[in-house]
């Protein structure tokens, strides 16, 4: 009898074409997703080297990184100077090669990692790669998905395979009942605070435990989104009944008898009892409070009601030095209460937290209230389907009436691609990175859940939502 295996081991083994020496494996890649920022480079390099796509039916292209979020945007409209050329280049290449292409005005358009589960491009037990580190997001539906560089993408285009070193197995178990007002974002921020921004290097991370079993798919996508923020390239939740219910009937999911066969296969992939994990982390969620970052690494995080920790409390000299620099950059002092720190901008968007359930939670907090005067409040839905569904429910009215801007879907202000609007400002944001300059020159970013961002927008300072609204 073969030894018990993890979900990860089984998916890996089922994609293993052959070993390349002692340390690399040549893997079959089921889905390549490209966007106009890095994908366009890969496509161009392929053509320059005189090659053609190997499996164009398994290549999906999306316009989302550089395209403007302005409602009614033009086909090549971008705040990035080089945006128009890259957008149009991706469009032309997609048409020429016959990739599955989702243009700026397609009703399916959105951020790649939001679109991929919505359309069933990402499926359990598939390998999916994209030139974006947050590709791990779609591990939320059980895909083995990871970010790659443009050269690796060129390799996938040319061969529909990729050479990778097999990582070790880590399991993170979230146990207990998630308290009201606490969300997937808080779970993953607390985890990163615990294991550190480098805690996942060299690991594929399975998220498990009673709290995850109860967590809806959109929450699982948020959780897996930030696996890379503790430097795990891969993060996933093995599929269960919630996953199958979510994916059933999606455009690219198998249909009819093929669906039943696929579900049976997917069930067989789940981690065997007694399978070995090289590392295990246990988080009790029952006492967890809303989390907010205070520094310039996602590991710089604490409960919103806590005081900013002292650098002296960090684990080693290097982390202490980093924390001190982070406080200087963030213009905060150790011991200061995080709650009440005035904010300039509240941002709801990104592949982390801009799905329908995120917008619903934020709208519940905002309903009947006004954003504090002087605060810029911006909402960029994660996909056009999310935007349309939110509008059908009247959520856009709640956002707009409260004083939020309501944008078209794209990556937007998560990264600074040329619009200096957030320069020198303090932003509370549902995004995934609080790196120096990530959202603009000298922009100070605090990461938090949509509920916390909405509550902060109303208060004009870092604040949490009343529990009954969560």
């Amino acid at each position: 009898m073969s030894p018990p295996r993890t979900y990860f081991d089984k998916v890996w083994d089922d994609h293993l074409i052959c070993a390349l020496g002692q340390d690399l494996a040549l893997l079959q890649i089921d889905r390549l997703v490209l966007h106009e920022l890095s994908g366009s480079q890969a496509v161009r390099a392929l053509a320059e080297h005189g090659r053609t796509p190997d499996s164009r039916g398994q290549v999906f292209t999306v316009i989302e990184h550089l395209i403007s979020t302005r409602p009614g945007r033009g086909p090549n409209e971008s705040v990035s100077v080089s945006g128009p050329a890259m957008i149009d280049g991706t469009r032309q290449a997609s048409r020429t090669y016959g990739f599955h292409f989702i243009d700026h005005d397609d009703p399916r358009q959105g951020i790649a990692h939001v679109v991929a589960p919505e359309l069933g491009i990402a499926l359990p037990g598939t390998t999916l790669v994209c030139c974006d580190s947050h590709t791990c997001t779609v591990g939320g539906v059980g895909a083995l998905a990871w970010g790659i560089g443009a050269s690796e993408a060129e390799h996938v285009l040319a061969t529909q395979t990729l050479a990778q070193a097999k990582p070790k197995n880590m399991r993170v178990r979230f146990e207990g009942v998630i308290p009201a007002g606490v969300y997937a974002k808080d779970l993953v921020l607390a985890l990163i605070g615990r294991v550190g921004a480098n805690g996942g290097i060299g690991y594929a991370v399975e998220f498990a435990g009673s709290a995850i079993a109860q967590l809806p798919i959109e929450g699982r996508l948020t959780l897996c989104n930030m696996a890379v923020e503790f430097s795990a390239k891969y993060g996933f939740v093995p599929p269960d009944a919630l996953t199958f219910e979510y994916l059933h009937g999606k455009a690219y999911a198998p249909q009819g008898a093929a669906w039943d066969d696929a579900v049976a296969y997917w069930r067989s992939l789940c981690t065997d009892p007694g399978a070995h994990f090289d590392a295990e982390v246990l988080i009790d969620v029952s006492a967890l409070a809303p989390q907010v970052t205070w520094g310039t690494s996602p590991q710089h995080v604490c409960a919103a009601h806590d005081q900013v920790p002292a650098p002296a409390d960090e684990r080693d000299d290097e982390a202490r030095a980093e924390a001190q620099k982070a406080l200087d950059y963030m213009q905060l002092k150790a011991g200061q209460s995080l709650r009440g720190v005035p904010i300039d901008v509240a941002y709801i968007g990104s592949c982390t937290n801009a799905r329908l359930s995120d917008l619903r939670v934020a709208a519940q907090v905002l309903k009947g209230h006004k954003v504090k005067p002087g605060v810029q409040a911006i909402c960029v839905p994660g996909s056009t389907p999310v935007k349309l569904a939110a509008e059908a429910e009247g959520l856009d009215r709640i956002f707009i009436d409260a004083g939020f801007e309501w944008h078209a879907s794209a990556c937007g202000f998560c990264g600074h691609i040329g619009d200096d609007r957030l320069a020198n400002l303090r932003v509370i944001s549902t995004t995934n990175r609080n790196f120096k300059g990530r959202q603009g020159p000298q922009t100070r970013t605090h990461l938090a859940s949509p509920a916390t961002v909405a509550a902060s927008a109303l208060a004009g300072c870092i604040a949490t939502a009343p529990k009954e609204q969560g």
């Binding site: 089922d14 040549l26 890259m86 020429t96 060129e154 290097e318």
Partner: protein, 218 residues
Amino acid sequence: METFTQVCGVAAPMLQINIDTDQIIPARYLGGTDAKGYGAHLFANARFLADGQPNPEFVLNQRPYDQAQVLLADRNFGCGSSRERAPKALREFGFRCVIAPSFGGIFFNNCFRNGLLPVMLPIEQVRQLADAVQQSDGRAPVAVDLHSQTVTLAQAGLAFAFSAPETLRQMLLQGVDEIDMTLTRRAQIDAWRASDRQRRPWAYTAPAPSQATPETNP
């Protein structure tokens, strides 16, 4: 890919943890359809002042570190965004090697495809190298040899062994084109897929209709 056998040159100490790829090259410089032009923006936010002048405090603006070929850093170097312009910018600036205790996984892979060697050494050894470099005002050269897998700083009598992933090491030493190498396995890949299609037919999506004459957009 560009070959790497050995390098011996100035090493710049930058012993911080979690130096992310947004710091290595900010997103606003990622645009453009050219394969080059990123070195000028390496570490742009720290390297240049608000008025665009070089920041004299930044190590790569100081002699002899402005000629550095080796970068000494702390753990989790290159974490964050998958942008391949990060190793490209380092390489264009003149770096051939980054030595750190650990690397962001995507960055690590990207390095090999851009003629940049990521070397993992324990922080104690990286610190010894950095200390010796600083004591020589940057003049003591650090040598990195991928054949023997050693890092040496002869002037201070330091010699450390490292271990690079063997297949990637061979690819760098020989300057192998990775795609060509994979394509030599065409028959094996096709046979594997024929069997996989039986097991997972739904994984093989059909192409979208090709449009040979795309409309032009303004």
